[in-house]
Amino acid sequence: MSGTSMTTRAWLLMLPLLAVMIAVIGWPLADTVGLSFTDAKLVGTAGNFVGIDNYVKTLTSSSFQRTLTTTTIFAVISVFAEMILGVLAALLLNQQFYGRTVLRALMILPWALPTVVNATLWRLIYNPEYGALNAALTQIGMLDAYRSWLGEPGTALASLIIADCWKNFPLVALIALAALQAVPRDITAASLVDGAGPFARFRFVILPYLAGPLIVALVLRTIEAFKVFDIIWVMTRGGPANSTRTLSILVYQEAFSFQRAGSGASLALIVTLLVAVLAAVYAMLVRRTAGSTA
């Protein structure tokens, strides 16, 4: 079969999938792009063409900048903490000890729970009247009186980050654990004979095998953390005083609460662009890591 007919056949085979993708992704995307250049409301008229006004207003608004900062803080701290916790948990679960299999299964539980369940659980833990955290901290003397962890701007974001970490570190741990099991036994043995201590062994022997899978986890988690919505919506709805408002919440509020579809569309596209840039940077990192360990 010639190359040309092979190409034709390949396109023909892909055509149904392409048609579906254009229908469910391409068309809404194009519609959103079109909408973002108008002052359309969610209901009512189609709106007037306003050029790049929506983009200029969004990018120069203080609420967008504040929200971008909040989102970045949330993403960076939670992903960083998840990476550390995940790797530590994987190193622990890679040791030989009684009950390891049970512990491995239990560890997956927070990640396996639906986000809404996880968020509700943490709202109960943080509850200012009967929450377990307040009870525990007052009983061990670290707290004088019960606090509203989610109700104070100073503690709300940190409380959310902890809840998000608890839910997502098992994913990193699972990926790291799989990578740890791929570290050749001979290399670990060679490092023991060479006199490498635990830290040097981690740095020179284990980390090169962890780097690739961890970058994949980092890509996935950063993108997810950057567009986080559900856990925050259930726990704080972006409050108090917008202190936990992330970009996705802002998009929702703009498009649906304030019913500004045009402005909401431009904001959504900005978020999409930011995530795409992140994905491209990480894809580059993954390629580079794959090249260096080949």
Binding site: I187, A189, A190, V193, G195, P208
Partner: protein
């Protein structure tokens, strides 16, 4: 003082005993090969010496100091692994110097040692590369360099040539022999390849089921195998083993009227009626004019294989398989019945029940 003393080493996994009391004493500069098939316990013994596995009993001393319970890095050993076990993200230079780096040897001293080792192994041009950019043979040289650079009292090699192709294996084997002759290091080397064992070792320990079947020089192991297992394991093709019974005249082969007259050295060991196994190496067989020539075997030829340097004949003597290695130009063909003679000195005799050598 011995460089390495292994005293009654045992290893058990639950009810399974994989090492059943190993005793070996190694002088400085010796090249000991632990030879055996998979699961015989040779790698377990090496790992115990290295400190990568714990012994269930016994003692190991290096330079007179007991090393059981001592961390691998403090045992004064270096190890070369079958898979090379190079650190993939470090350059060849850092791989070789890694052990010295971990021991906080000053940079200048470390650099000198790495350069010397690289020169010795002729890998100076590879120092800036990473393991992924090297061929199998080059990786193995780096792995050997990593062990050599530390100048330990004992070197441990765990099947280091197994991952190389046949040609490279032979070249690296010669290189190892040259290094051992030049440096006079004490080496414990694990392999299942009897050619490696014969060519490299100053002594071979043939292992089976967690025990040493025979410990001796390559010549002793090859010329005077202590058991039927050793006789069959060392030598390629393996020794011919023919079942028979001792009679007044010699050994009568099963299913045949052929009687092999026993040399005087077997007279006391072989009493009439005793079931025995008679051994002759394939390379000890030569063409004989007649079966009347004694001792000789009348072989019906089934397969003729020319390997290049020799002609390998496989046939049967009254149903029992016999192999002979002859000069390549020998004119023999399938279906012929040919008499093969051998010297009396080439004859080995084993008790059929205990499988121990007689005489």
């Amino acid at each position: 003082m011995s460089a390495l003393e292994i005293e009654n080493i045992r290893k058990t996994y639950g009810a399974l005993e994989t090492l059943k009391g190993i005793d070996i004493s190694l002088e400085s500069g010796e090249f000991l090969v632990l030879l055996g098939s998979s699961g015989c316990g040779k790698s377990t013994l090496l790992n115990i010496i290295a400190g990568l596995a714990e012994a269930s009993g016994g003692d190991i001393r290096i330079g007179g100091r007991s090393i059981l319970g001592v961390h691998p890095k403090d045992r004064d050993i270096a190890m070369v692994f079958q898979s090379y076990a190079l650190y993939p993200n470090l350059t060849v230079h850092r791989n070789i110097g890694f052990g010295l780096e971990m021991r906080k040897v000053p940079v200048a001293e470390r650099e000198k040692a790495v350069q010397e080792t690289a020169r010795l192994l002729q890998i100076e041009n590879l120092l800036d590369r990473k393991p992924g950019q090297l061929s199998g043979g080059q990786r193995q040289r780096v792995a050997i360099g990593r062990a050599l650079v530390r100048k330990p009292r004992v070197f441990l090699f765990d099947e280091p040539l197994s991952n190389l192709d046949a040609k490279l294996r032979m070249e690296t084997r010669t290189e190892l022999k040259r290094l051992h002759q030049m440096l006079g290091t004490t080496i414990v080397y694990v392999t299942h390849d009897q050619i490696e064992a014969m060519t490299l070792a100053t002594r071979i320990a043939v292992m089976r089921n967690g025990r040493i079947e025979q410990l001796g020089t390559p010549e002793e192991v090859y010329d005077h195998p202590a058991t039927l297992y050793v006789a069959g394991f060392v030598g390629s093709p393996p020794m011919n083993v023919l079942d028979g019974v001792v009679t007044g005249e010699g050994v009568q082969l099963d299913g045949s009227a052929t009687v092999i007259t026993l040399p005087a050295r077997f007279k006391n060991a072989a009493s009439a009626g005793r079931r025995v196994k008679l051994g002759v190496r394939p390379e000890a067989l030569r063409l004989a004019a007649d079966v009347a020539e004694s001792p000789a075997l009348a072989v019906e030829i089934e397969v003729v294989e020319l390997t290049g340097p020799e002609l390998v004949i496989t046939g049967r003597v009254s149903g029992q398989k016999v192999t002979a290695c002859l000069p390549p130009r020998t004119k023999l063909s399938v279906g012929m019945k040919q008499a093969f003679g051998f010297d009396e000195d080439a004859l080995h005799l084993f008790d059929a029940q205990t499988e121990l050598a007689l005489g």
